[in-house]
Symmetry: C2
Subunit: 397 residues, 2 copies
């Protein structure tokens, strides 16, 4: 996949010895050429980690210069030592790049339960600062520096022309399990050279996250470290985007976020299927989200898909306990285009053909039509396999 | 386990060919000698099955004579045919016992997606009606007739003396997975010879269920058929219980319900541990319930316990996304009596000793102290093992 790197940024990803494998990057530095707009969307967990606490204070801002992230060992602490380590990490990154501490944002992911190895991180930041580059290889090193149990880097990009200006978006994400002993957290950084007003940047990111990173799950466990950042350098030139230009930018941002977000359940720990749950005809978007999420969280739905079973009973009954008012007699359900259930009743269908369609496709598409209203939404999750359990039960042996 | 059967009831459990194994009972009949008080607590699923629809209409009542239940094939339908089959089943049971149709309650559990084999059920009801008995063996046959994937019958009883009268409680339950292709539903019937006013019976059962069957999960998937019934024959004699007698009865009922309820996650599909999640110091009981249930629903907590790992991070972070307001810096956590986390910070503990304690005990006890208020609650769930996934993914091969 070829990503055109937005102007105004430099990148580095280095190995500083946090991960056991010395060939795997574990420290990422993203530096802007000048003050950039920086906005974030963070975990809704009441127990949130120190890096989230710091980034929440520092964003939204028109004066961000640095993002530093480490992987392999999460700073998941909420207490004084966690804050001290996260502040020190941000300060070291700022110093290494000639910025002020308040211009630096910080992210952290990996094993929880241990404090950060600050000496290695300090050395890693110094190493990264001298290899910063604005080419694609540097961008990809940075994208690899935030990975944990991911099978490969997760990147996406868009190029759009707005009048005289060509604008680039490039994003990187990580995530395969929500939190755990060898992994933690969903992280993403989206970079653009678009000129953006701070408020517009925040609004654009929040809207895009609502349709992307907030519509995915692996096992439904919300991390303490989830962070999505958007940095806009303005290096593409011109005044801040408004009106139709802003709308075109927002559409591209949403596409990049959805593309990155879908990579996460696709790479879910042990997953053999990505499941796309499309709920339409809901009275409100919130209703659609609750129903989709409840289905996505059902171990019985996830194991049925893993087993190639078009089990409408598990799906319909999960919808029924989502806490959303709807008329069950209007509910219809299709799997991979085959109608299994209509107006509150099962219908005849070719079970073996539908089962084959599940087994032979990486993505299984569930479509629930509530016939209650105009709202719709798609939610993506992973199936639940024996390998997921092995991975999350037997890691310490 | 010896259960003293309450006076005023007769029981039968027979095999009528719904289950493939002809040695396993699949039809249960419980008949009262005269009109009994009958009350129920039912699934909160918006999509509820026909037997629940009928029992909801017929309870609470002071005029119940029959409960008929089948296992092996659930009537999980919400439509016209499901209602017709459930009504027919109740009517056949009433006729076989000399009762009126409105005096009969009905329950159904087993494979979903197929209509009931009504001829077999009809023959089974006739067979059961001629072998009704008031002895313990008949009670146990009835208890076996509601089982599906359970490894054995789930029964509990109490005897209490109230003044001149000796009162008996005897309960039976089934459940190992919430719903699925070879199983469905949590069902329970509690029988007593206590004299009870209808309103007191309903209140007593609702209160007992709140602390028992509503505090358990296997994988958190709410069935369309969940039903708990209480039948009170009054055969112990005397006027309806009031005041301290009623309170003593309620305490015993609660104990029976908790004893039965705990058997369900203990027998959860593939379970290697029962997990008791005790939340104390909550502002409200509802807060405690939400936090306990969110932890119980976390695949990462359940796999950690399966793997013998005292993973405080997974437990604390699950509490953090339960949607309950609390101060994370007051939170403490113990596992099997060992403190792992205190006042918002991890504490030093002997990981290998705590891990051994998890591995060597069938029940793992999690204690979360929120220090926010006076409310507390215990919730029981199963761990999540490779066998659970195999059982629920590979059943059709």
């Amino acid at each position: 996949m070829s990503i055109v790197v937005p102007a105004g940024f430099r990148f580095a990803g280095v190995s500083c010895g946090i991960k056991q494998d010395p060939t795997r990057e574990d420290l990422t530095l993203i530096v802007t050429d000048g003050p950039a707009v920086g906005v974030g969307v963070y975990t809704q967990n009441l127990v949130y980690a120190a890096p989230v606490a710091i980034d929440r204070q520092r964003t939204p801002s028109a004066d961000i210069r640095v993002v530093v992230a480490n992987s392999g060992n999460a700073n998941a602490c909420t207490g004084a030592r966690g804050i001290r380590d996260a502040e020190a990490m941000a300060q070291m990154a700022a110093e290494a790049c000639g910025a002020q501490p308040h211009q630096a944002l910080v992210m952290s992911t990996g094993i929880i339960g241990q404090f950060l190895p600050m000496e290695r991180i300090s050395a890693g930041i110094r190493d990264a600062a001298v290899v910063l580059g604005s080419d694609q290889a540097s961008f990809e090193n940075a994208a690899r520096g935030i990975l944990t149990t991911d099978r490969g880097m997760k990147v996406a990009g868009r190029v759009l022309t707005l009048g005289d200006h060509t604008i680039h978006l490039a994003g990187m994400a990580k995530g395969a399990g929500m939190i755990g002993p060898r992994m933690a957290t969903m992280l993403a950084v989206i970079l653009t050279d678009a000129p953006l007003d701070v408020a517009d940047a925040q609004h654009s990111l929040s809207a895009a996250v609502a349709d992307s990173f907030n519509c995915i799950s692996v096992e439904g466990h919300m991390s303490t470290n989830d962070t999505v950042l958007l940095l806009a350098s303005g290096a593409a030139g011109g005044p801040p985007l408004t009106d139709s230009s802003l709308q075109l930018f927002q559409a591209s941002l949403r596409e990049v976020c959805i593309e990155l977000a879908k990579m996460i359940p696709d790479d879910g720990e042990g997953a053999s299927h990505r499941i796309a749950i499309e709920v339409c005809g809901a009275a409100t978007r919130d209703d659609a989200h609750r129903i989709a999420r409840t289905i996505a969280d059902s171990a019985l739905v996830k194991t049925a898909i893993a087993g190639g079973d078009p089990n409408w009973g598990r799906i319909v009954s999960a919808a029924g306990y989502a806490g959303v008012a709807f008329d069950p007699d209007r509910l219809s359900l299709s799997i991979n285009g085959t109608r299994l259930y209509q107006f509150g009743q099962p219908v005849e269908f070719d079970v073996s053909a539908t089962s084959r369609s599940i087994r032979e496709n990486r993505e299984t598409h569930l479509l629930l039509d509530l016939q209650q209203g105009p709202a719709s939404l798609t939610f993506w999750t992973s199936d639940l396999t024996v390998d997921y359990v092995r991975f999350n039960a037997d890691y310490h042996t």
